[in-house]
Amino acid sequence: MANFFPKWTNWIPLKLVICLAVIGAFLVGGIWYYFTPKYTRVGFMPTQPVPFSHALHVEQLGMDCRYCHSFVEVASHSNVPSTQTCMACHTQIRATSPKLEAVRESWKTGRPVSWVRIHKLPDYSYFNHAVHVNRGVSCFSCHGAVNTMQTVWQDKPQSMSWCLDCHRAPENFLRPPAEVFNMNWKPAAGENQREMGMKFKEEWEVKPPVTCGGCHR
């Protein structure tokens, strides 16, 4: 009688090994790429109740971040402006623009505008804006070029390892205090970010925490 298994079955093991190897590689690669904050968070761009354009206000009108996010230099978190702040201008300018309906509504009723949150750190990590902006870390470093965004999206993964990249080597990001809120700042020609950063780091004695306690309480 003949073999129970036909000849071709002899190749199955080899094929199997190759397949598994390939699938495995894809799996690892896939998880590596698709399941990390780099992919899951970056680019998150929800539609906001008010089509507020940072590009317009910051880039064209040249408003300072601190006009709206007024407490960023003193408080742990950078506040979202109150309706009051918006109305300060928009009672005169574009007072009837339909885009601003939600704001006027809120001003009338006293019900706040509820903006969709974009940058969300987990509850157990405590980030403090004040200490960063006062010590030469720009908004740009964590939020990207918000000044050019029509609608704001998340520009950086803001994962723990991402934080650590800077906390371990702040010299790559520190800038002159005056330029912290200047979203377009680049090191001038001949200036080298690293060297400058090193200088600041020593002068200001910048020692960012890298143990758990720095952020987790």
Binding site: F4, T36, P37, K38, P157, S159, M160, S161, W162, L164
Partner: protein
């Protein structure tokens, strides 16, 4: 000659006849030993001049014949137990570790006790296969297969506990050293992480070892079976083994190496488990004697469990007594006696050092073990592990299966008590009296533990039903006619 097997009726399994069956078995063995065999200096490993054909056909027949009633009966008992175990675990995960009795200060109780208990049982198998193989103990051949299987199933039961005793099971992947978005890693100095590596390695290597041993026997079944499905399944599992010497020579080498690797592995696993305690600062845990004493204990409990399982198995499949002879039982009893005494020595040495070391915390810890609120556990341990096995000094108790079976139940219980004493009592009273407290098991604790026995037995039943429970090719290899110079003048 395969027909020889067919004449032997399979004794169907009735609980009341169980012990009777065993004692009969004992009796029959005695008379079946012929004068010639008696004359041989070393008793033959296989009795009644069984031939290779008989071995293949009988052992395979266990797998091939239709499922006996007792099998269904026992499954009917053990499967529900397994389900109970699983539902308890579901409740645990959904509700919190609080459903167990653990508390402050007793952060570990039955969970780790049961873990160490099962992992201990999981030692005999690989030990028999590996160490006895290296020491060329031919008598191992008839028991190592079942023992190895037992190892695997015990490790499965053991694994449940460290995996699920943690507060946030869904975060347990933190234990795996993989790169992650948090950029944080494991603490490789933690005995618990050593455990993770040790236990998983042990399980994997044991599986490989076991399966490697199975290949030729699977081939046997493949070549005997008739139904297409079986042909396919066993065919695939046998990987196309042909038994050519060019295969045997690599095969034997590999088997030797695996044995060589497993031997230190077996010793390391329980040593690492003992590090969980030995490397801590808690009086009663902080002890250098732990590794050897844990290993001895593991072998002790492991062999006890092998006997607990093999004796009934042979009572059911009477002819197996020609392979698993009284001689095997006798040897295992001796090992239990030895290891039991080692363990007993360790207990006494602990007490001595506690007194001699002059550390008041240490002294207190051992005082409480013996005379504190958990005195009953301590003395239960002492009796079961040290006193009871001493009966094995007497040949009578080593050679009468009913007695053997009864006596080996004490190590089984005793080893559980030992772990409970070491873990729960020590924690219940350590440094600061203000923080002392008792542990009381909850119904969940109990049901989970009982359930693991169900799981263990279920897996074992499945094993003896579908896989050759005795290593046929090795048994054949120890038959006299296996010797290429058998019956030649110069031999």
């Amino acid at each position: 000659m395969a027909s020889a097997a067919m004449e032997i009726p399979h004794s169907t399994f009735h609980i009341p006849h169980f012990f009777q069956a065993m004692s009969e078995a004992t009796a029959t063995i005695e008379e079946k030993v012929t004068d010639e065999e008696k004359a041989v200096v070393r008793p033959p490993l296989v009795l009644n001049k069984r031939t290779m054909g008989w071995i293949s056909s009988y052992i395979s027949s266990i797998v091939e014949d239709k499922t006996p009633r007792w099998w269904w009966v026992s499954m009917g008992v053990t499967v529900p137990m397994t389900l109970m175990c699983l539902s308890m675990l579901a409740y645990l995960i959904s509700t919190g570790v609080g459903v167990w009795g653990n508390n402050h200060p007793v952060g570990w109780a039955w969970d780790i006790t049961n873990f160490v208990f099962w992992i201990g049982i999981g030692h005999a198998g690989t030990l028999i296969s590996a160490i006895l193989f290296l020491t060329r103990q031919k008598w191992r051949t008839s028991i190592n297969r079942a023992a190895e299987a037992m190892t695997l199933f015990a490790v499965v039961c053991a694994g449940i506990y460290p995996a699920l005793h943690v507060g946030r099971v869904w975060m347990a992947w933190f234990l795996a050293p993989v790169p992650n978005a948090n950029g944080i890693w494991q603490n490789f100095r933690s005995p618990l992480l050593w455990d993770v590596f040790a236990v998983s390695t042990y399980f994997t290597v044991s599986v490989l070892f076991w399966y490697t041993g199975l290949i030729p026997d699977l081939a046997t079944i493949r070549d005997r079976c008739t139904s297409k499905i079986k042909k396919f399944v066993y065919g695939v599992m046998a990987l196309g083994w042909r038994g050519g010497n060019r295969q045997w020579r690599h095969y034997e080498k590999a088997y030797l190496i695996l044995a060589g690797l497993s031997t230190p592995l077996v010793l390391s696993v329980h040593s690492v488990v003992s590090f969980d305690f030995a490397t801590s600062v808690i009086p009663g845990w902080h002890t250098t004697i732990f590794p050897p004493y844990f290993v001895a204990g593991a072998i002790f409990g492991g062999f006890a469990m092998v006997l607990t399982i093999m004796i009934p198995a042979c009572a059911i499949y009477k002819p197996l007594h020609d392979l698993v002879t009284i001689n095997h039982v006798d040897k295992m009893c001796k090992i239990i006696l030895l290891t039991g005494s080692i363990v007993g020595y360790a207990y006494l040495m602990e007490l001595f050092i506690a007194w001699y070391g002059g550390n008041p915390y240490e002294r207190a810890a051992f005082w409480y073990r013996a005379f504190g609120s958990y005195w009953w556990a301590y003395w239960a341990m002492m009796f079961c592990n040290v006193v009871a096995p001493q009966l094995f000094w007497f040949k009578f108790f080593r050679t009468h299966l009913v007695w053997v079976w009864i006596i080996v139940q004490f190590p089984n219980m005793g080893m559980w008590f030992e772990r409970f004493v070491i873990i729960a009592t020590t924690l219940s009273r350590d440094f600061a009296p203000s923080a002392w407290g008792m542990f009381h098991p909850t119904w969940v604790d109990i049901c989970t533990f009982v359930g693991t026995f169900g799981l263990f037995t279920t897996l074992f039943l499945i094993f003896i039903r579908f896989l050759p429970m005795i290593c046929m090719f090795e048994v054949k290899a120890v038959l006299p006619e296996a010797d290429p110079h058998h019956g030649e003048a110069h031999h």
